[in-house]
Symmetry: C6
Subunit: 299 residues, 6 copies
Amino acid sequence: MSTKPTRNEAKEIALESYIIQTEPFYLSQKDEVELFEAAYMEKIPVLLKGPTGCGKTRFVEYMAYRLGERLTTLKPKTKAERDGNGHKGIPLLTVACHEDMTGGDLVGRYLIEEQGTRWIDGPLTRAVRFGGICYLDEVVEARKDTTVLIHPLTDHRRILAIEKRGTIMEAHDGFLLVISYNPGYQTALKDLKQSTRQRFMALEFGFPPKELECKIVAHESGVGEEVAWQLAKLGEKVRHLKDHGLQEGVSTRLLIYTGKLISRGIAPRRACQVAVVDALTDDHEAQQSVQEVVNSIFA
Amino acid sequence: MSTKPTRNEAKEIALESYIIQTEPFYLSQKDEVELFEAAYMEKIPVLLKGPTGCGKTRFVEYMAYRLGERLTTLKPKTKAERDGNGHKGIPLLTVACHEDMTGGDLVGRYLIEEQGTRWIDGPLTRAVRFGGICYLDEVVEARKDTTVLIHPLTDHRRILAIEKRGTIMEAHDGFLLVISYNPGYQTALKDLKQSTRQRFMALEFGFPPKELECKIVAHESGVGEEVAWQLAKLGEKVRHLKDHGLQEGVSTRLLIYTGKLISRGIAPRRACQVAVVDALTDDHEAQQSVQEVVNSIFA
Amino acid sequence: MSTKPTRNEAKEIALESYIIQTEPFYLSQKDEVELFEAAYMEKIPVLLKGPTGCGKTRFVEYMAYRLGERLTTLKPKTKAERDGNGHKGIPLLTVACHEDMTGGDLVGRYLIEEQGTRWIDGPLTRAVRFGGICYLDEVVEARKDTTVLIHPLTDHRRILAIEKRGTIMEAHDGFLLVISYNPGYQTALKDLKQSTRQRFMALEFGFPPKELECKIVAHESGVGEEVAWQLAKLGEKVRHLKDHGLQEGVSTRLLIYTGKLISRGIAPRRACQVAVVDALTDDHEAQQSVQEVVNSIFA
Amino acid sequence: MSTKPTRNEAKEIALESYIIQTEPFYLSQKDEVELFEAAYMEKIPVLLKGPTGCGKTRFVEYMAYRLGERLTTLKPKTKAERDGNGHKGIPLLTVACHEDMTGGDLVGRYLIEEQGTRWIDGPLTRAVRFGGICYLDEVVEARKDTTVLIHPLTDHRRILAIEKRGTIMEAHDGFLLVISYNPGYQTALKDLKQSTRQRFMALEFGFPPKELECKIVAHESGVGEEVAWQLAKLGEKVRHLKDHGLQEGVSTRLLIYTGKLISRGIAPRRACQVAVVDALTDDHEAQQSVQEVVNSIFA
Amino acid sequence: MSTKPTRNEAKEIALESYIIQTEPFYLSQKDEVELFEAAYMEKIPVLLKGPTGCGKTRFVEYMAYRLGERLTTLKPKTKAERDGNGHKGIPLLTVACHEDMTGGDLVGRYLIEEQGTRWIDGPLTRAVRFGGICYLDEVVEARKDTTVLIHPLTDHRRILAIEKRGTIMEAHDGFLLVISYNPGYQTALKDLKQSTRQRFMALEFGFPPKELECKIVAHESGVGEEVAWQLAKLGEKVRHLKDHGLQEGVSTRLLIYTGKLISRGIAPRRACQVAVVDALTDDHEAQQSVQEVVNSIFA
Amino acid sequence: MSTKPTRNEAKEIALESYIIQTEPFYLSQKDEVELFEAAYMEKIPVLLKGPTGCGKTRFVEYMAYRLGERLTTLKPKTKAERDGNGHKGIPLLTVACHEDMTGGDLVGRYLIEEQGTRWIDGPLTRAVRFGGICYLDEVVEARKDTTVLIHPLTDHRRILAIEKRGTIMEAHDGFLLVISYNPGYQTALKDLKQSTRQRFMALEFGFPPKELECKIVAHESGVGEEVAWQLAKLGEKVRHLKDHGLQEGVSTRLLIYTGKLISRGIAPRRACQVAVVDALTDDHEAQQSVQEVVNSIFA
């Protein structure tokens, strides 16, 4: 395995595929951009709290792009840049956590190949090694052996133990761990332990205010301003229904779907029915409540 | 493993085996065809809701055939087409989910062979790579690590992380994820999380109305119009019994079975008994209720 | 692995070992033979319902033999037949399901051998590939990943997905899936889902009537007609005790055991005690009730 | 793997190690010997019921020895016999079942060796292949996939499916399956299913009567007749205490231990204390009750 | 693997590492030494009952040393002895059982090495093969498949089935199985089954009386007689507190720790606090009760 | 694998990476430093009890550094030292335990490589082999098979059984096992068994007193004395709220985060909100209580 000069290059190209090339569309709600920048500079791990589809993933993508643009010193040098082709962002490695995910999925594993075994870095290791943001979405869903990885990376040590290789890796200066979770979901079984939690600064997210959401829906779905405003109003009103049989408010994403269907010529009420009413719930009473809101807006 | 020119061809042939060659028999109930087409054009993932045997699988097959016919630009070019043999549909990869199914079953795995290991795409990866519909039937039955795959494929990112290979794949423009589930079955343990659910537009399905079902039964079982009408009537009446000890109404499929047995010379009442009454339930009281309906129709 | 001409032959010989060579002893109770034949011709999957030891397995063996005799067109050609040696039945592959059985046990697996790995068809795949009946005994005991296999084989698709090989196999025209279960056993946890159940026509079995059982016991155990009649009477009476502390009625099999012991010179009452009374239950009161029935018959 | 002539011989020698060479000491209680012989001749599987340490294992060993002596036609020919050295018994393969035992432990497995993999028969397969008794001790403790093995071996088929090799083996004429269980232990979770149970004739065992137990204790421990009688009396009395805080009566084995300690010069009361009182229970009240019985006998 | 003459020697050296070379410090409480010797001579398996840290492990070590000294005939000959260097004890193989321990951990496993696989005896197999005591500490913690190993080794058969190799091994004459458990811990889930329990003679252990414990503490910790006496008094008094919020009495080991700290110059009250009070419990009330006892002794 | 002279060196370098090179910043609270030194000299295993983020990990790092400086005789000689480059500390191997961690993760495993398998010491084995502190953080989270490793290492035997290699290793004189746990977390399921617990001397930790914490916050975050004092006051007050809806008091680490954000120019109240209030809890009432404390200090 010694004479394979192309391998390191291959790795670097893979890293570049995690760099966001074009600025994501993001409209900031408060001072979350400044706080995140301060956290990144101070190497304070960040916890994002908020409901489904309110824009947490998009925010991290935006920050990865923006930080890369500003912090050229912290950003890892990619081959393309050394060749003079500037890439804007710093690498972002997003992992949607789930209850069968183990630490090995984050750190890496050995692949058996023709010429023996080859080690493949997991997403966390890649971020630690080359610098970049590792974003663990819905972290409480992961199995508990992720703890062993997160803890030494989120205190003064900033190290990652790669048990399978018997080594310890110090994190790149540009590395930051970001996790998210939805406080509405937590149960006794699936909660962040205090010993994990108290390693993160927390940013709380909610749905965007109506004016902002209107702009987002218009931009993403292609509908005109009037329809976008109606959809933003729908979003606001449906979220007020949350305690009346709805498990969660409607996400901005579903409003965008509705806009897209309307752009395609589907009648607004029918578009709302399939992309909001029936998408949100199976409960007939709850469906009726939402449909009434729809009817009141799209008279 | 470098000098095996036949391998790519082999893959493509495999893909073609997922293309539906002849138009499936499907009679539309409402505007579900138009809505699905709009969703496919807008890349909005689709959730099909409805009871057992009401035709969800058949609908997806029909749409895969129909979309392939209309959307030649989105459809992947197969070798046969390049050779001048037109295939109609776009690929459809159906997976019946179950509680032991893991993400690996969807994404793919390494096979150990004589000359080393060989990667085999799972059905989801095939659809993402070449374009096509991946249909996850009864998705809530799958293990939760499917979440990690579904989420990035069903938002603005449209990417599939192939952890075992350490790569990320952007979805083909012709890719669409479709899932189904039966709201009657859901329990607290097996429910679609809101963070998953709010990534799909929803189409609700029911059993076909009597006139439509009569046509379907006649077409599929070969019985004459009169018997088909009697069977459709039986279907309608048995579904009204649902709250009287029956877990679920009778499916169109069982009515077709009954028709086939009658075509083979089995007496109608006896055919109904084995293919409807005893097939539906083991409860003697419920069996008697259904049998009475049978007797009232096949006097 | 290319120059092993004997391998295919080996497979075929293995298939022949699933063909029943001599007519099984079976006395039909109602029209179950005609119904099964119609189902086989129409490719309608069959569900057999009935208590332990009432003859379901024997019935399937009889049908496999009988259908092979009649349906020479559907029956796969074996090497022996091509050589002029007629085999009567169509292949029957019986699987006693259990809670550790996975889909892999049905579909097949790779064996590691000296020259690499070799694929071995599971019983279901063998039946699908070459034609024949695959009989899943007590199917509800199997793990739920069998669902993924059963569903596409039991609707209009009739296909088997062999995930480990990345292929799909269309069922041979002579393939039929037969499953059985005992309604007396079902619990909420182990029940056939409606989405599975509504893919089968159902044949209900009970214990044979006294006259028939007398003939069976005499034929199988070698006792004279008088003793056989006494044992058949014992069977009938014990089954009436079922609600008085007995979990299930006595099977025909146990009556045959008793007859065999009597043939060997064991006193009838003692034979009944070890092969019926103590075999049925550990509960002393229930044992006493059954023993009283024994004593009243073998005075 | 072709040029290893010693391998078959090695297997046969292994088989001979399961043949009991000297007559086990067994004193019959009732007609169990005759019944077992009839069952063996008629190929009726046998279920032994009875409490811990009452002699079930010893009985099976005795029958294996005795049947080999009488039934030279059914007994497999071993190499030693062909060489003129008579071995008395038929092979006995005993398996103490437990909750982690799987079907693979009974049937066999592939071993990975220098020259590739080698198949090793499990105990059940050995008995099926060469003839002999396979004795599954406390069968309800085994995992449920043993069912798939036991069922086809215990009805008219008498076949063993060796899934891992893709073959079916017909049982040798000298094969018999014997299982045991202790009715006192059964719970709802760990019970013999009726579909399994009704495949066996049942022999019930209890502790030997006092006169018999006295002979056994004297023979096995080397104490004189007087002490043996005292110990047999102790056994009888302690078993009457069973409902007064003792989970189970004292086994003959513990009485033999006590006799052995007394032979070694330990004072009888102290020997009873360590080998009966403290061995039976940790409950201080129950210990006291048993000790009082000890004191009344060894005054 | 045939020409490796050093391998057997390697094994023997490994065995010698289980032989205790210097006499363990043990002060006998009652007649446990005589009883254990009688059990070893008569091959009666031994169960040690008693609380944490009361000296069970030390007792077994002492007996292994002492028996080797006395019973030169039963003791296996080691290479060193053949060379004239006497080793005193017989081998002692101690296993701390736990709930993830399987039978394979006791029996042995195949290791994959450069030249193929190599079998490594587990501790139980080593003791069975070469003679010696195998001591299973807290046996009820082990998984239930250990039963299959223990049962045939603890009745008249004295055999060990090595399933993975398909062989049976008769125990060396010098082999004895010793198990321990703490009756205070047992729950319904983790209890010795009667069918296992009634294979052992039982020796009950308690904490040593004050005079004895004083000698032990002085000998092991190096404190003078006065402090040792105070610590022994502390032990006795704390054990009387057991029902007042303490789960278990203080072990001799903790008293020795305290003595060692005092020897190092830590003030006695502070030494008692960290090595007894805080070591025993987290409950503040219970801590206070114990601290009061400490204060009353170390005024 | 014989001619790789660089391997041992590689191991030693790896060991050196566990040696702390610069003195950690630690301000002692009581006599914990003296007690730990006495324990290390006397080889008494140590249990650290205390809440999240109170400095347990930092304390162990400090002790590893300090002991290496003082105890040159016990410290293992590293290659660097032999070359004249002094390293201060003794090795510290920290493991954050979790519920999927097995004994194998601590002891080591075989890696499959091109030239066969290679053994890799786990962190516990490394500490046992070369001397050093192995620190198992939150040990109760680990699976129970760690018991088998911990027990013989924490009594008079001081041995580690490496089952997979079939060997036993005596601990280096400089080895010490340290474990920690948080008494506030313990449940019936996850508690230290007394048989494990009574092998350790216990050191109880709390949060540092206000004066000390002020110094730490100033040193670590770079804020001036006034702000540091305000933050220390905040810490003290929030910890008094613990019973009013807060699961645990605020850690020193979160106070340091707050200081860092303030240094970066974030307004103190906002910094407190994201790094203390929202980081601690999702409960709105609890958040309000903490925010009021913040407001009272940063008026």
